[in-house]
Symmetry: D2
Subunit: 262 residues, 4 copies
């Protein structure tokens, strides 16, 4: 289990969300509230969009709370769209390539959760990644596999159907392999313009996910960054939320999208 945040809106210094709030992501790396893994100290990452199509990316294996590089980069990089993530590994190695976010061209993805029984079905899940995206697999996490399978399923064009199809494919493999543990996830993806967030679990026990919207600025988080619970809305289990530029935020039911994709 991990903690993450995704922001799209007026350009902000990343520190405004990553390090400064009372219950900032860095504070959550040491002490999370709504998470089985209280400590998220197995690496971190930030990815941000600036003047290029592709995002900048800074990931490292040390705990976020003591990383002076992270602090300095967040204090000096201003961005209109960025992701930040602190990791608690569910088994795969603590290495930079296993830290979130993951980048493919101008697309960026991050994830919290777990494919139940992944160790036993890893090979079959990875086989869903076609050659075109296979070379982009640098690490060994289920998270990166989900991202690349979804890319093959059209994440760049229609994020919600693409992830829905991916979840369906993985649940089929799990079922066929007799896996009884659940598939649970929250995730975010962007192409540098549209921001889409997902919350799903095969057993209705999805990790927590909240958002805040004000004056066109959107912030999606694993846990609220402050104690003002009023200001935060929960994203319902089984839902996706899509924020396209110049459009109102839209909500969609993932189960429906999965049925349509099946």
């Amino acid at each position: 289990m991990c903690r993450w945040l995704a922001y799209r809106g007026r350009p902000l210094l990343m520190e405004a969300l990553v390090t400064e709030p009372d219950h900032s992501l860095i504070a959550q790396s040491l002490r999370a509230d709504e998470c089985k893994a209280v400590t998220n100290g197995d690496g971190f990452g930030v990815g941000w969009y600036g003047e290029r199509d592709e995002p900048g990316l800074f990931r490292d294996v040390r705990p976020a709370w003591s990383d002076e590089n992270l602090k300095s980069i967040c204090a000096h990089v201003r961005s209109r769209l960025f992701f930040a993530h602190v990791r608690a590994t569910t088994g795969s190695a603590v290495s930079r390539v296993n830290c979130h976010p993951f980048v493919h061209g101008r697309h960026m993805f991050m994830h919290n959760g777990q494919i139940g029984g992944f160790d036993r079905i890893k090979r079959r899940v990875e086989m869903l990644i076609p050659d075109e995206f296979y070379g982009a697999r640098l690490g060994s996490t289920d998270s990166e596999a989900i991202f690349l399978i979804a890319m093959a399923n059209g994440l760049a064009v229609e994020p919600i159907p693409a992830l829905a199809k991916t979840l369906g494919q993985i649940e089929t493999i799990m079922r066929e392999a007799g896996v009884t543990e659940a598939l649970r996830l929250t995730a975010a993806v962007t192409d540098g313009e549209t921001l889409t967030a997902f919350r799903w679990a095969s057993d209705q026990k999805a990790p927590s996910l909240y958002y805040q919207e004000a004056n066109g600025d959107l912030l999606v988080v694993s846990e609220p960054l402050d104690s003002d619970r009023e200001g935060w809305k929960e994203i319902a289990q089984g839902c996706a939320m899509e924020a396209r530029p110049g459009r109102k935020v839209e909500r969609r039911c993932l189960a429906e999208a999965m049925r349509a994709a099946a």
Copy 2:
């Protein structure tokens, strides 16, 4: 604040104490019980005596709980005398040279606690280290400074008077500088034969320290490694404990030694 253990006795694989017990040092790195800093994830170290006079040393900056190297080394190195330490920094950088234990020739030292107001008096404390030992200062912690000052004060010959004198010198500097925070410490030192452990605080709030003795095997720990509280004895505040080869463990009052050293 940090957590540590020191062992002297029949040669053991280090894993027997460092990774295997329920509340092993690695478990304490993620979740300590008797410590202000619940998470001790700012680096770790093990030092052990084998066939050489000087101890082997392995220190790294990542959290102990996810370090596969630490696990493997503890599973394969058997030693009659070893120290292990997990760190929660009180300010100085997370770097290998700031991780415990510290080694000087055949002497090894580790520490938990803090010199109150160290930032303000660092220069004056470091000035207590004579040229002979100054080149051995590789990092920037108060811990390493205490070790090298104590070495200059005769730690190699008479550990208890040497550390007592050192604590007295530092408390004098603190008093002169008007520092109101306390000096608190537990520490262990060895020359590869004698093991000495210390518990001290200028305000009677020393960090916890326990030991177990059985059949001539001595284990000193910041916190018990299991829930059997019966098996562990507390080392009283202001006390030192010295285990010389072939001699009964001796206890001495540090305040007395400080008066004698003054």
Copy 3:
């Protein structure tokens, strides 16, 4: 391209081969002589057999030449059979799980060289790893893939036919994919008793490989550890060398073994 050494014989402190010789493996990490990659600074590893069936393993991503942990471990660990490796990446990430040696149960493997066009055929090569060994794939190197495929092909029972079969399978994939770059390798494998070394290239340009044998002690190296060229014998291209306990070292032609395996 990388540099490595494998030793089997009287128990030695690893430093005797890894850090002390004039042209030790650590010296080669900074300045190799017979290698396209002069600098082998992308991580290192040592693996050694002691009192357990499984080897101890210490791998890290920093250059070997400046790693104080490596120096200390080599100075304090004595072993009758150990591998050491310094890495120059040919593309995959610098991470611990991509450092050699690789361990599976009591088997240990390391490698120098490259599967030509690996990026394009990675998926097909990885598909040769059956489920039984797929969970053991922690990194993303061609080296680890070769090891796990060979394990599936019987490396634990008959190392030479198993690796020959593996090379044949990979060359088939390369041919089918129209890869024109060569497959070149030197490698070593052991189960803690038998030590087997390999030198192969599809284009007769295999990396260098030498050995020394004296009083039953066997040392195999990418490059001689000293300038005494007399003391070293080259292992011929296309050859494998097998040292079983209590038996004379045997040489076998890999091409023959490949034909037999086909």
Copy 4:
């Protein structure tokens, strides 16, 4: 010995100088031309000015040539004034706090060279740092000590006299201690506006230093970034060069400044 570059001018993506040129600083980390230490793989750093008074800072201990974070940050950060540095340690530990540049408030400093016999006179050199700057000493290099002594000597106000005085003080300590090795340095300092570069050696064997000036853009480097030797001018031994905003670049003789400071 290390390699560095300093740029002041039109805002540039840092990659234009750090990673893209044929003989970029990253290329020099693997293979420097005019340097005793061919490989500069003991860590690196970049520091840049953006919208804050204080510079951003990113330093790490891995070799620059394989660091994906460095590449991404240089590709995404645009700055009007930045420093970049690759390190070859002359003895002190490979740790982030020992990597250049060093920052104090809005001032940034980096260095190449060595105080001869530093190990023997370290304590006396550090004593030149007054309490006011002593708390800012995070590492153990002679470089950081030179910076903090120079800060105490007025580096923030008049860089050239301040560094000249510092060099004089250190040479006095060396002389008194009977050190026969030389003091050699190139260095750069800035407050975010003025850029000053120095080249000095007590034995006339200062490390190389070059610059290029065009349309008000100034670039100072340890070695030219390309093979066009015409485009580069050498900074003479014993000289300093000061580029104040809106003023012509001025050259000054350091020996003179040292006499004035004495």
